[in-house]
């Protein structure tokens, strides 16, 4: 009991980095997944290890049957469908904000699909790459309606709950400095416990990405008791994360995201993907793998697009299924031709 659980995992991961035989970095079917051959390692293992949140409504949360569901989980399933042709060949690993990067670095997971903000320092010094932004977000505050606060500026002197090891924590400190708002932090690692502390009234406000606030608010017994303040204090591009130095695997992750986007743009859905095989538009034909041979260029099957879309549907469908029920609008996540930021490069 000398260390906290997460520190234990970090220690184990650090040890794994120390003892992984150097030869594994070159061996093709390395079980621990050296950086240069994640795809082969995943194929040899037979499942994709995908790091998700510890339980955030809409993004990754077990349902009443214990099956994990959510926006982030769909990305894990889409990747498994792309690699194996079977969306169920995925092992979901729940990771806290503090252990997620170590879990990825040490090979415990192959990809992070877990509300992770892409920043310069994470991209460089953590040994990670962020192939695709699948959710554009920003940081906000949630308070109890009974508090009577209407704007973040009014939070001077407040106690604010925040998860450690997040960009949220640093943004909060930055914002407090520039807005000259003093606050006392309460820093708890596990999401459930920090939400519990906020609900119990330990903090006046809870801060995280607005999508996370919406998810937390929707999960409360009386959501109207809580108010998300209109202020957005940061840019939070939530991206999929992989280990640095494996361009091939990063390509698969990146283009699986673009596949979901392009499918929405061209009107390919989970239901009509089979009938789209006869669609005359050339780009649609390339997406469904009838022409172009794009799948093999990624090291995947020709029909990977069909498999993925049959398993999870297009971006709009995934969004509608998981995020709209908890009150998150498309906003910046709309397609580029609908006033949003989501833009897929050409499938050519």
């Amino acid at each position: 009991m000398a260390f906290g659980l997460s520190a234990m995992r970090t220690l184990a991961a650090a040890f794994a980095i120390g003892t992984a035989a150097p030869a594994l970095a070159q061996a093709p079917a390395a079980p621990s997944g050296g950086p240069a051959n994640t795809l082969d390692a995943v194929k040899a293992r037979g499942t994709l290890a995908c790091g998700v949140n510890t339980g955030l409504a809409g993004f990754a949360q077990p349902d009443s049957q214990g099956v994990w569901r959510g926006f982030d989980v769909e990305y894990c399933r889409a990747l498994a469908a792309a690699i194996f042709g079977d969306a169920n060949k995925v092992k979901l690993v729940s990771t806290t904000a503090q252990v997620r990067f170590t879990a990825l670095q040490s090979g415990e997971v192959d990809v992070l699909s877990r509300n992770t903000t892409w920043t310069l320092s994470r991209d460089t010094s953590l040994g990670l790459d962020f192939p695709a932004i699948n959710f554009f977000d920003g940081q906000g505050f949630m308070v109890k309606t009974s508090l009577g606060v209407k704007a973040a500026k009014e939070l001077d002197g407040a106690t604010i709950c925040v998860a450690p090891g997040t960009t949220t924590e640093q943004n909060l400190a930055d914002w407090s400095r520039s807005a000259a708002v003093k606050f006392t932090p309460v820093v708890i690692e596990r999401l459930e416990e920090i939400v519990a502390a906020f609900v119990a009234g330990r903090c006046d406000a809870y801060t995280t990405d607005i999508s996370g606030l919406a998810a937390t608010r929707a999960a409360q017994t009386k959501p109207t008791d809580y108010l998300i303040l209109p202020d957005v204090i940061s840019k939070e591009p939530l991206a999929l994360g992989v280990r640095q130095g494996d361009a091939r695997f990063a390509d698969i992750v990146r283009w699986t995201h673009y596949l979901l986007l392009a499918a929405e743009e061209f009107g390919i859905t989970q239901a009509n993907v089979d009938s789209m095989m006869t669609d005359p538009r050339p780009e649609v034909q390339r997406i469904v793998g009838k022409t172009g041979g794009l799948g093999p260029m990624l090291g995947l099957a020709d029909n990977w697009g069909v498999t993925v879309l049959k398993a999870v549907g297009n971006y709009g469908e995934v969004f509608k299924r998981h995020l709209e029920p908890i009150g998150i609008q498309r906003g910046p996540n709309a397609q580029w031709n609908k006033g949003g930021l989501q833009y897929a490069p050409p499938f050519r």
């Binding site: 009991m1 000398a2 260390f3 906290g4 997460s6 520190a7 970090t10 220690l11 991961a13 650090a14 980095i17 120390g18 992984a20 035989a21 150097p22 970095a25 050296g34 950086p35 503090q98 990067f101 170590t102 670095q105 320092s121 994470r122 010094s125 953590l126 040994g127 990670l128 508090l147 939070l155 001077d156 002197g157 407040a158 106690t159 925040v162 450690p164 090891g165 924590e169 640093q170 400190a173 930055d174 407090s176 400095r177 006392t184 932090p185 309460v186 820093v187 708890i188 690692e189 596990r190 416990e193 920090i194 519990a196 502390a197 119990a200 009234g201 330990r202 280990r243 640095q244 130095g245």
Partner: protein, 400 residues
């Protein structure tokens, strides 16, 4: 005179033999084996080290302790030294180290007091008291500490909010934001008075020691209390008065969301402290009980035959002897308190583990972060061990 009595056989050394380069020579064999073992251990460490360095390089993970000088940017609620998020990681980690010390030191003192009381209560002739103490020990020892910490934290969160805070006395507020106590503005005069008190306490202790030594010679009682009163009370108050007797009360007031001013004990710190103290006191109680029962019953009877009453027997005769049995296992409990304080991460108290975890998460340098945590615990634990071993040596039975 123990020095003069020496067994002459101990002085006789075995005859010297020249070293032969042969496997049958015991010394040659010894040297060979030592070289082999040191070589194996050394190369194992070298392999671990170079392998780690190689893997970190392959994974393009930054290494080294350069990050300690970068701006931390993480907010910390409780700090004993000045801190704000623009300070460096080094300072943030220092704050975490001091927070760990704060809970460990206070926890050790309180657990010792509570544990000793419960241990003595378990031996009480009062049936109810003895049984209550026994139930306490059995219940507390058998529940996982993490569970107890979460229990205390949830209990403290169940307190009313700051606007409905309990107000048992003037300026004292108990709410889910913690315990607020009235305090006063600390000035130099207070620091000097505190210094005078500490010096006075040391002087009193020296005086009492000398008084006892003199009493052993002439049998005359020399009460220490007048001296103590003068050195520990009159002198500090005098210094404080001479420096202008500054006193500005700092009463907590509800302003905005929270109480401003006064002394604050946060629910996180309080939950951690109370959890550690009650848990460890259960073990300390058993150690104290075992120590007291290890003193032969004849000592009680002999002391009572001299006319000492029960309290005197316990304080003057039994406890000093029991200490010899108590101290070594007590050291382990003190080390446990220190290490268990790392469970703070579960309830949001920002100790060294919490801050180092955040640091390693932000910088990605897990190995350096874990090394810092290990260094901190090793330092604290070795210090406790050294002190307790010194104390143990002091009270150990002096054989004559």
């Amino acid at each position: 005179m123990p020095e003069s009595v020496t067994d002459p056989r101990q002085l006789r050394l075995p005859p010297k033999r020249p070293i032969r380069l042969s496997w049958s020579d015991e010394r040659v064999r010894g040297i060979v084996w030592q070289v082999v073992v040191v070589g194996i251990v050394g190369s194992l460490f070298w392999w671990l080290w170079s392998n780690t360095a190689h893997n970190l390089a392959v994974r393009r993970i930054a290494t080294g302790f350069e990050f300690l000088r970068r701006e931390a940017g993480l907010p910390i609620a409780e700090h004993l030294v000045d801190y704000n998020p623009t300070d460096t990681y080094f300072r943030a980690l220092l704050v975490g180290f001091l927070n760990t010390l704060k809970v460990a030191v206070v926890g050790i003192v309180l657990a010792t007091i509570l544990g000793t009381l419960i241990g003595i209560a378990r031996l009480s002739r009062n049936w109810l008291l003895a049984k209550l103490a026994a139930v306490y020990v059995e219940v507390i020892r058998d529940l996982p500490l993490l569970l107890q910490l979460l229990f205390w934290y949830a209990l403290l969160q169940g307190l009313p909010g700051p606007r409905q805070a309990m107000n048992p006395a003037e300026g004292v507020f108990l709410s889910n934001r913690g315990l607020k106590l009235p305090w006063f503005e600390w000035t130099d005069a207070h620091s000097f008075a505190l210094l005078a008190f500490v010096l006075g306490a040391i002087a009193t202790w020296l005086y009492a020691r000398q008084a006892t030594a003199k009493r052993l010679l002439d049998g005359r009682k020399r009460p220490a209390w007048p001296f103590a009163l003068l050195a520990m009370l009159a002198a500090p108050i005098g210094i404080w008065a001479v420096m202008g007797a500054p006193f500005t009360p700092d009463i907590p007031k509800l302003r905005g969301f929270n109480f401003q001013g006064g002394l604050n004990i946060s629910p996180e710190y309080f939950a951690l402290l109370i959890g550690l103290v009650t848990y460890t006191a259960g073990f300390v109680a058993e150690i104290v009980r075992a120590g007291i029962q290890a003193v032969p019953h004849g000592q009680w009877e002999a002391a009572q035959a001299l006319g000492l009453h029960r309290g005197q027997v316990l304080r003057q005769i039994v406890l000093p002897q029991a200490l010899r049995v108590i101290i070594p296992p007590m050291t382990s409990q003190y080390l446990n308190i220190t290490k268990n304080s790392s469970l703070a991460v579960a309830i949001g108290y920002q100790d060294i583990v919490s801050i180092a975890n955040t640091t390693l998460n932000q910088t990605g340098q897990a190995i350096e972060g874990i090394a810092i945590i290990m260094l901190v615990y090793l330092t604290i634990s070795l210090s406790i061990s050294l002190f307790m071993n010194w104390y143990n040596g002091r009270i150990a039975l002096v054989e004559r």
